[in-house]
Amino acid sequence: MEKLIYGMPESLKNVSTTYCPGCSHSTVHKLIAEVIDELKVREKTIGVAPVGCAVFAYDFWNFDVTEAAHGRNQAVSAAIKRVLPDNVVFSYQGDGDLASIGMAETIHTANRGENITVIFINNTNYGMTGGQMAPTSLLGQVTTTSPKGRDAQHYGYPIKMLELLAPLEGVKYLERVKVTNAASVIKAKKAIKKAFENQINNTGFSMIEVLGSCPANWKKEPAEANRWVDEKMAEFYPLGVIKDAR
């Protein structure tokens, strides 16, 4: 008898995504879908899609998903969870959304200790609008709005969101992962799963930051872009558990 050991998660629709070759979004979408399947919560999951490259996430996931205004995902997610506490609610956001325009929503949702899961894709630029500088762009990084490279004097320093949130009492679990090779993908999935389990166990606010690759806007081949994540990004944004207060 044949035994299927790897297949399409039920929580993912069998459609092509709109993501560029080498982009991390597709990988993370699949990991979230697998986790939701494994936890058997597809029928009570509500996702909140961001403004940015992942805005079409509702076309790729096979569960209820709503849009939110730019940066407002966590306000929307918190209200959904308060109204439907038995459902599983997660916010999926990029760095422009979560760390720039949505900074107030991020900090206050975390500080209120809302029992939601946040998946944060940090690819150090505004992908959908063509690669402008983000608060997370590395020093020296050339973007369409930092053509000579980001320098601290004019643009300030890149921001580490997890380290910023860690001291808040309401925050229970923070981990930074990457998805540049098989081993790191497996690690990332474990972290994402824990962040969802925390919500199901009423532990409180959990956020996973994924160091994401953006080959198209970084003007790098996918393999080279992954190397840049491994070498440059991970050097500034340390991988691993930043806080685990469960």
Binding site: R42, E43, K44, T45, I46, V48, V55, F56, Y58, D59, W61, N62, F63, D64, V65, T66, E67, A68, A69, R72, A75, V76, S77, A78, A79, I80, R82, V83, L84, N87, V88, A104, E105, H108
Partner: protein, 350 residues
């Protein structure tokens, strides 16, 4: 609480919402509406609902967005500067066709302005946000209506899956009157939230709530569909107060909200002038045709507002004879008194 009660306008709004089945409230402190979040922080949990103190008006409106996505009857309240911050969220709600009630207890502007009553957000209410959308706007003129209109706003919001605004001011918000509560009145719900809300895809196809339509022609079609809905609202939900018995008039006064109250006093006091009041109750949809008809008999149409002339633009569109229309208004928290309106009237009629 039931029967007759002496109640403050802001509290009447909160009670109207609770009686209509509102079970999610989010608000941020701003004068002159602070009684509403304060009262709701106690009353909402008693009613089995959720109270959240938002950290900004941006967060308020997006919490309401989320609660509405989840199918709860939800409300936020604020005053003029806070309402400016909510415009983005209101547009998203209109685009996503999400119901919700937004209360603006207006104060003086522009900028930080002051905390005195004003009607300076008429434009912001009837011409809200970005994009081509409309918002039902109800303007109460006494405390009973603060309660009744808030109750009815939830039914309208659900019926059309559209944001509804209660446009009032600091005078009505802070004033007390005796009102009759209609406890036990059943909220209508012609489109149950369960038909569209996100509650988890158990035993059904997954649902999406969105306003982004990138396929060529899709957004154009969405706007046509919205417009069909707005046309239906114009046909079915238009409200105004005009006493048909007052056939014998040559002056027509047009005023809404608290100025309409003062105008009633003007008419009662000015027995030498044959005047009647036309009060738009829905500011959108605006009663253009009905006002045009009422204005035909009048030699002059007087528009009184607590601003420098906002509703008067709609009155001019309705009357279609600029030579007839006279405007008197005071901005920045100035309250036009009965005497000053009457003397303006007398001066112009002569």
């Amino acid at each position: 609480m039931s029967g007759k009660m002496l109640m403050k306008g802001n509290i009447a709004i909160a009670e109207g919402a609770i009686d209509a089945g509102c079970r999610f409230y989010a608000g941020y402190p701003i004068t002159p509406q602070n009684e509403i979040p304060e009262y709701m922080s106690k009353r909402m949990p008693e009613a089995g609902g959720v109270f959240m103190q938002a950290e900004s008006e941006l967060i308020s409106i997006n919490l309401v967005f989320g609660a509405s996505v989840a199918g709860a009857r939800s409300m936020t309240t604020s005053s003029s500067p806070g309402m400016s911050l909510m415009q983005e969220g209101i547009s998203y709600m209109a685009g996503c066709e999400l119901p919700g009630v937004i209360v603006n207890v207006m104060r003086g502007g522009p900028g930080l302005g002051n905390i005195a009553p004003s009607q300076s957000d008429y434009f912001q209410a009837v011409k809200p946000g970005h994009g081509d959308f409309r918002m039902i706007t109800l303007a109460p003129s006494n405390i009973q209506e603060m309660y009744d209109f808030t109750f009815e706003a939830f039914d309208l919001a659900d019926k059309y899956r559209n944001p509804v605004m209660i446009l009032t001011d600091g005078l009505l918000g802070q004033m007390m009157e005796t009102i009759e509560l209609s406890r036990g009145r059943k909220p209508l719900n012609p489109r149950p939230a369960s038909e569209w809300a996100l509650t988890g895809a158990k035993g059904r196809e997954p649902r999406k709530i969105l306003s982004l339509l990138m396929k060529p022609g899709a957004l154009e079609q969405h706007n046509y569909d919205l417009w069909k809905k707005y046309d239906e609202i114009k046909k079915s939900e238009l409200r105004y107060e005009f006493n048909e018995k007052e056939k014998d008039y040559d002056c027509l006064i047009v005023a809404f909200g608290s100025v309409a109250r003062t105008s009633k006093g003007v008419i009662a006091e000015g027995k030498d002038i044959k005047a009647a009041l036309f009060r738009p109750v829905t500011l959108w949809p605006f009663p253009y045709a009905e006002l045009r008809e009422a204005a035909k008999k009048a030699k002059k149409v007087f528009v009184f507002e607590m601003n420098m002339g906002q509703m008067v633009e709609d009155v001019r569109l309705a009357v279609q004879d600029d030579s007839k229309v006279e405007f008197y208004g005071r901005p920045g928290g100035g309250l036009p008194s009965q005497e000053e309106l009457l003397s303006f009237l007398r001066k112009k009629v002569k």
